[in-house]
Each structure stands twice: as structure tokens, then as C-alpha cells.
């Protein structure tokens, strides 16, 4: 039995009713889908079982919901768990992982800055990449983006 199966069984036995889905994506990579209220207990359990490194937190706007995707790694057990926390679209709030992995600090600030997800319990949730007085969260799908850039020759621009 591979290490990802061990982790899967451990999570399934501890969070029986709370895992919405769990599947092995490829050897040593496990994917778990949970509701946002279960993120902190699952993260704490993973930390206890040797997952010492938080690789990444990615926020995705799926129009009907937000997702906060955490890639959590264990170097010692050589395994990665992708924890997908689903967040309702009208209330983008999620518990902060700062207390479990301090490395979540910048990831969460970035997700707040660009996607507008509020991480409750974060000690310093400020904009990180954009200026402090910026009003929007540009990675949201309702933030307009130029789709096709038509090539305009210099002569046309000059009116010739």
C-alpha cells in the first residue's frame, strides 16, 4: 500500500462524513475535497501526521463558488495532498492556516489581494502585490480583461 493510500485511509476514518470526495491522482498525490468549515481540522491532522510543508494556496473563482486549493507536502513521507476547500460565492471567507503553517502568510495575503477571499484569523491581511489603495480584486472573473487585441498599424494610428 502506497503512502497516499495510508493518508487517504487515515483521513477517511477521522473525517468520515466530512470528506466530499477523495481520490488518488497519481502515485504519491492525493486529492481531497472538503467544505470550508473542515479545513482547519483536516490541516491540523495532516500537520500531525508529518506534512511539514505548505506548498501553495491557490484561489479559484468558479462563478458559483470559490475554491481555496492547498497543496500540502511531506518531504519525509514523500507525499502531497491537494485539499480543496469550497467557499460559497456570496460569502468568501475561510479560516486562516497561519497557525498551522506560518508559510501560509504570504499565500493568503496574495489570495486576499487578487481574489478577495478573507482569511479569518490571519494576523496581517493586507494587500501584498497591488497598491494598498487599490479597490478591486483583479483575478475575479467579473474583473474585465481585454480578450482580443487587434493589431493596429502605426500608419492607421497616425490617421494615414
Amino acid at each position: 500500500m502506497g503512502v497516499e493510500e495510508e493518508v487517504k485511509r487515515d483521513l477517511e476514518s477521522r473525517f468520515a462524513g466530512q470528506l466530499k470526495a477523495s481520490q488518488v491522482l497519481r502515485p504519491r498525490v492525493l486529492q481531497v475535497r472538503i467544505d470550508r468549515k473542515d479545513l482547519l481540522p483536516v490541516a491540523k491532522r495532516l500537520k500531525e501526521s508529518g506534512f511539514e510543508h505548505l506548498s501553495c494556496i491557490s484561489a479559484v473563482d468558479w462563478l458559483t463558488r470559490y475554491e481555496s486549493v492547498c497543496h500540502i507536502t511531506s518531504w519525509s513521507r514523500n507525499c502531497l495532498v491537494e485539499v480543496i476547500a469550497e467557499i460559497p460565492h456570496d460569502d468568501p471567507k475561510l479560516d486562516s492556516l497561519f497557525g498551522v503553517w506560518p508559510g501560509a502568510d504570504y499565500h493568503e495575503r496574495e489570495a486576499w489581494d487578487l481574489m478577495g477571499i478573507t482569511y479569518t484569523g490571519h494576523p496581517n491581511l493586507e494587500r501584498i502585490l497591488l497598491p494598498a489603495d487599490f479597490k478591486y480584486h483583479p483575478l475575479r472573473k467579473d474583473f474585465p480583461q481585454e480578450v482580443d487585441r487587434q493589431y493596429v498599424s502605426r500608419r492607421k494610428l497616425g490617421g494615414g
Partner: protein
């Protein structure tokens, strides 16, 4: 007293600001301010076709372009479900280009780090050797920088006929030069005084703050994604990732010198074992679902999380930049250091603002 080191400061090697609060000469608090170079790569990627994003990811880090576009291609291949169909020759060419880029990137780091500590010779010497590796990259890809070489489904073009011989020649020459570097740096009293025991990052702190790459291996964590999660042809090649227990500036220097040796060794193995055959397959245009892949970039763990909605453009691209995460550990490293050492410590971390600010 607060001191702004940046955004225009010789220390920064780019555009960012490190605010330090000092008590006498001791740093009691440090606060990085980043974002000056934010170009919105993730947002722009959402309106470009999958294949056209490669050229954007090239520009994430201008001294390590190939490794970044390579990581993006791996993630998109995973999303399209073609990652096990990449031809063997393409996978070997990716290893070769990645390792050439890694050596060039580490040499650029050395070239920036040496003048930080007042060793101008180091700058000239390492740029001289970096040029040899850029020549090799140019022979392989056609460009010195921003190569736009990896493709979704393989690499852009095959290597030239004399490439294996050229690599061997350059690497034989480079090994001699590496010994000269070691004489220049490690037997230099000033260099040792400014690096030994300065800027210590403990193993526990490094893991907690998400530091990766050479900086984490210099703190005694034996990890390397090329070994732990082998991609491309790394599983076929023999190498041992270097580990240093020190955690200080000197350890971070030693680890990069050792990594250049490892990379040269990997290049030699790869050009010897490279099989004949096609180097690229035709990739589909559309993709649906989500996928991620991570690679060992020159600076640490690079991760791309790509989502597709069935169209020919990515729905979302998320970039995990190793230096972005390392930057969050800077306040911890800086606490208790002397103000004069701030430059040496930041230099040893190998900051690349392009990938940090995305």
C-alpha cells in the same frame, strides 16, 4: 529607527523594498514590501491560448526562463492527459536545457552576490563562465535569454549535431574554473568573515515558512523534487542532491557551487544517453479540469496549478514562486543580525523579483 532599503538600493537586485527597524546596529524587525514588478501574468494567461502562455512564463524570471516555461508545460500536459506520451528525446532535451539554465542562473547569482560582499572579481569571473553556458543555450534554442524553448508536448527543436561535443568541452573547462572560484571565495578572509555564521536559517524555521530549494537544502533538509517526484528523464539519471547543515550564508554559497557540479554531471549523462526519435508530439488545443505539477526550479519548488473549462484558454493559472515564499521567512532570518549584514544575507537568498511579483 526605520530604514528603507529599497526600492532603489544596490542591495535589492530588482525593485522591492526591505524596511528594517534598527536598535543601534542591530536589526530588530524587518518588513519586506513587494509588488513593484507585478505584471498580472496570471490574469493575462486567462485570455491567451494554452500554447501562447509559454512566452509569458518565460518572462517570470529572466535569468531562469527555461525552468519556468518547462514547469508550465508540465502542468498543462498533466491537464490535457498527455504527460505519459511525451517522447523520450523531448524529455532528455528538457533535462539538458533545464540544467544548462540552472548553471547559468547560479552563475548569475554568484555574479550578483560577489560584489554584494565587495569581491568584484567574482562578478567578472562568473559572468565570463555564464556566457559559455548561454552560448550553449543559444546553440540549443536560438536565444541567450527568454528562450521560449519548452512546448506543451515536448520541446521546440532538436539539438544541433555538435551539441554533445560542445557541452563536454564547456563542462571540462568549467570544472577547472569552479576550482578557481573556490580558491577565490573560500580562501578569502573577508568572504568567510561575512558569511560564516551570518544569517542562520534553522531547519524548523525553513520548513515552517515554506522555504525551498538551495536555501532549504543549505539548512540541512535532504529534499530535491528531481529525486522525490521525478519528472522528465530525471528518474533515469544518477545524481545525489547536495545538502549542507550550516544554514548560514556560507552554506547557501557552498550548496550552489555543489549544485553546479551536479548539474554539469546531469548534462553529461543526458547528452550521452539521449535516445533518437521525435522530440515533440502534437498537443490538443482544449482542456478541461484542473491539474498541477511542481518542479525543482533554480530557486526552489515551482508549482503551476492550471484549470481549464473546456476552451482553448486556461481558466486559471496559479504560479507558486519559491522566492515569494522565501521572502516571508526574511523577517525571521533578519532578527538580531547587524545592519551591515543585511545585504549579504539577502544576496545569499538569490532573490528574483520577476518571479516573486509575477
Amino acid at each position: 529607527m526605520w530604514i528603507n532599503m529599497g526600492p532603489q538600493h544596490p542591495m535589492t537586485h530588482g525593485l522591492w523594498n526591505l524596511k528594517v527597524r534598527v536598535d543601534g546596529e542591530t536589526v530588530v524587525e524587518a518588513r519586506p514590501e513587494i509588488g513593484y514588478l507585478h505584471r498580472g501574468v496570471e490574469k493575462i494567461a486567462e485570455v491567451r491560448e494554452f500554447h501562447k502562455v509559454v512566452i509569458l512564463t518565460d518572462r517570470l524570471c529572466y535569468v531562469s526562463s527555461v525552468t519556468w516555461s518547462h514547469a508550465y508545460c508540465l502542468a498543462v500536459e498533466e491537464l490535457m492527459g498527455i504527460s505519459d506520451r511525451i517522447p523520450a528525446r523531448g524529455r532528455y532535451l528538457r533535462v539538458i536545457s533545464n540544467e544548462l539554465q540552472r548553471v547559468a542562473s547560479h552563475l548569475m547569482w554568484l555574479a550578483a552576490y560577489a560584489p554584494d560582499l565587495g569581491l568584484l572579481t567574482g562578478l567578472l569571473w562568473s559572468l565570463r563562465e555564464r556566457e559559455l553556458f548561454l552560448d550553449l543555450l543559444q546553440a540549443l534554442t536560438g536565444q541567450r535569454m527568454n528562450q521560449n524553448y519548452p512546448r506543451v508536448g515536448g520541446v521546440r527543436n532538436d539539438m544541433p549535431a555538435t551539441f554533445a561535443r560542445d557541452c563536454e568541452k564547456v563542462i571540462r573547462h568549467f570544472h577547472k574554473k569552479l576550482e578557481e572560484y573556490e580558491d577565490l571565495f573560500e580562501r578569502n578572509k573577508t568572504f568567510r568573515m561575512r558569511t560564516e555564521g551570518v544569517g542562520v536559517l534553522s531547519k524548523a524555521d525553513g520548513l515552517a515558512w515554506g522555504v525551498t530549494g538551495p536555501n532549504l537544502r543549505a539548512s540541512g533538509v535532504d529534499y530535491d523534487l528531481r529525486k522525490l517526484d521525478p519528472y522528465d528523464a530525471y528518474a533515469d539519471l544518477k545524481f545525489e542532491p547536495a545538502v549542507e547543515p550550516g544554514g548560514d550564508n556560507l552554506a547557501r554559497y557552498l550548496i550552489r557551487i555543489e549544485e553546479m557540479r551536479t548539474s554539469c554531471d546531469l548534462i553529461l549523462q543526458a547528452v550521452k544517453r539521449i535516445p533518437e526519435g521525435p522530440y515533440r508530439i502534437k498537443a490538443p488545443r482544449r482542456a478541461e479540469g484542473t491539474a498541477f505539477r511542481r518542479t525543482e526550479d533554480s530557486r526552489g519548488e515551482a508549482l503551476f496549478y492550471v484549470a481549464g473549462d473546456g476552451g482553448d484558454r486556461p481558466y486559471r493559472v496559479k504560479i507558486r514562486s519559491p522566492i515569494f515564499c522565501t521572502m516571508s521567512a526574511v523577517p525571521t532570518i533578519m532578527r538580531g543580525e547587524k545592519i551591515a549584514d543585511v545585504i549579504g544575507i539577502m544576496g545569499s537568498l538569490d532573490v528574483c523579483v520577476g518571479e516573486m511579483d509575477k
